[in-house]
């Protein structure tokens, strides 16, 4: 995009720019790509949006694992649509991130070289078909808790991507819950499969909200900038409160002996996930880290010839037959 300088402005000094930026944030207005912004704001956003995008892209793999083995055409079509949505989410977010001044190539490179991370949840394997349901219900459910407040984030392109994404997430959660409901109406073996899956995913789902607030000192700055709207613990509590009645309706339990209603607080009390495990998984020592990155790298490298071919085709211009079909005004003065 090129911009025409209106010629009226003289370059304002940094303090005035910072003041304007802060005013925009305080008015609850959005920051747009070509506005001046503090370097810290830009960097924090790039890290958050890039890694959010990577999470969507890597997030296709655990469920993609079951597309070829879905038990019915109906389930296969649903799963395909869901995984395709996640690819779309990744693309919306990469676009938003690029408006901050990084290129798609750089982002891809930083993902497959492991310099940037993605959500730890996708480093757990999907061992049974019930996991497809549990991921939709709990993992996309947790994502909804995270993402709904982000629709009001202060950076315009990020917020707009989140609005699109949130519209699609509710399909993800409902198809997962419905899948589990169907299995719960089946045999004892199927019910056991659902419970086993929920047992495996409950703690990793709670970890999705990040470490407790007193271990997240950056939260305050992000909230001041309007990038972040709720703390990790607030969101985790909200998720537990939402999930308990859903588990009861489904007929499953969560593997936490401390989980109980606290009438005084008006919330459920619950135990802490194993934060050492979380740190290990984020660092790259989870069950599937190497496999996820390797798969993404292979897809990128195997696709190189397709990208090269498309570039060559574009450079060559339209084919002769195509040109012949165009209206004559395209061919000059005729």
């Amino acid at each position: 995009m090129t911009a025409i300088d209106s010629g009226v402005t003289s370059a304002p000094d940094e303090a005035a720019l910072a003041h304007d930026f802060q005013e925009t944030i305080s008015r609850n207005d959005r920051i747009e790509p070509r506005d001046w912004m503090p370097e810290g704001y830009r960097k924090t956003l790039v890290r958050q949006v890039a890694q959010h995008a990577h999470s969507e892209i890597i997030g296709m793999q655990p469920e993609g694992n079951w597309i070829g083995r879905a038990p019915s055409l109906r389930r296969k079509a649903i799963l395909l649509a869901k995984v395709q949505d996640e690819a779309g989410h990744g693309l919306y977010l990469y676009s938003a991130c690029e408006t901050l001044g990084v290129s798609r190539q750089q982002l891809t490179e930083m993902l497959i070289s492991g310099k940037q991370k993605y959500s730890s949840i996708f480093n757990y394997p999907t061992l049974s078909f019930a996991d497809v349901g549990t991921i939709g219900w709990l993992v996309d459910g947790a994502a909804i808790c995270n993402q709904v407040p982000l629709c009001r984030t202060s950076y315009g392109p990020y917020g707009r991507s989140m609005i699109r994404i949130c519209k699609e997430e509710s399909f993800h959660q409902r198809q997962g819950y419905e899948l589990l409901m169907t299995m719960m109406r089946g045999t004892d073996e199927q019910r056991a499969m659902v419970q086993e899956s929920v047992d495996r995913f409950w703690w990793p789902a709670l970890m999705m909200f990040g470490p407790p607030d007193n271990d997240s000192p950056n939260t305050a700055q992000s909230m001041e900038w309007g990038i972040k709207r709720n703390t990790n613990d607030e969101l985790r509590q909200k998720f537990v409160d939402m999930s308990m009645p859903q588990a009861e309706a489904l007929g499953v339990t969560f593997p936490d002996p401390e989980l109980r209603w606290n009438a005084e607080r008006g919330h459920y009390d619950f135990g802490q996930p194993d934060w050492d495990e979380f740190m290990q998984v984020v660092k790259g020592n989870g069950p599937c880290n190497a496999q996820r990155i390797e798969h993404r790298r292979r897809a990128h490298e195997d696709g190189a010839w397709v990208r090269a071919a498309a570039t060559a085709y574009a450079a060559r211009g339209p084919l002769v037959e195509e040109a012949a079909q165009r209206p004559s005004r395209d061919r000059g003065a005729a």
Binding site: S6, W36, R47, G88, V102
Partner: protein, 128 residues
């Protein structure tokens, strides 16, 4: 959990991601070079239904116009969000100014007489 656990935000959407010690790639130049230059960026506009304007919905990379249209369909209209799509190469767009609140728009700021509310008409005059 000590210092290690610090600076993770929940709001990586699909789960917590680190915010400290992660490179951003900012200031390193866009194109990494190599045998494959990046495909051009296109801006995508969708007409939601007949009777509405095309509205900007986002952007994408494509090798050429036709691929941009096909990708736009797959990325931005998976649920009947549109009846028509425009794609425009981002470098073909001319924008008003680098700043959204530039003096470019000042001339319309002080012309209150362009708005109907500027004129006082007695309340009992009908259909005004």
């Amino acid at each position: 959990m000590g210092d290690e656990g610090r600076d993770y935000t929940a709001e990586g959407g699909h789960g917590a991601v680190p915010l400290k010690d992660v490179p951003t790639g900012l200031g390193q130049g866009g194109d990494l070079g190599g045998p494959q230059p990046e495909w051009p960026l296109y801006e995508v506009f969708v007409r939601g239904k007949r009777g509405l304007n095309h509205v900007h919905v986002g952007s994408l990379h494509a090798a050429d116009d036709r691929m941009a249209l096909l990708h736009a369909r797959d990325v931005y209209t998976r649920r009947n969000e549109g009846v028509s799509i425009w794609v425009v190469r981002a470098d073909a767009i001319t924008a008003s100014s680098p700043d959204e609140k530039d003096p470019m728009f000042a001339p319309s700021g002080d012309k209150v007489y362009r708005h109907p509310t500027f004129y006082e008409i007695p309340a009992d005059v009908p259909h005004m």
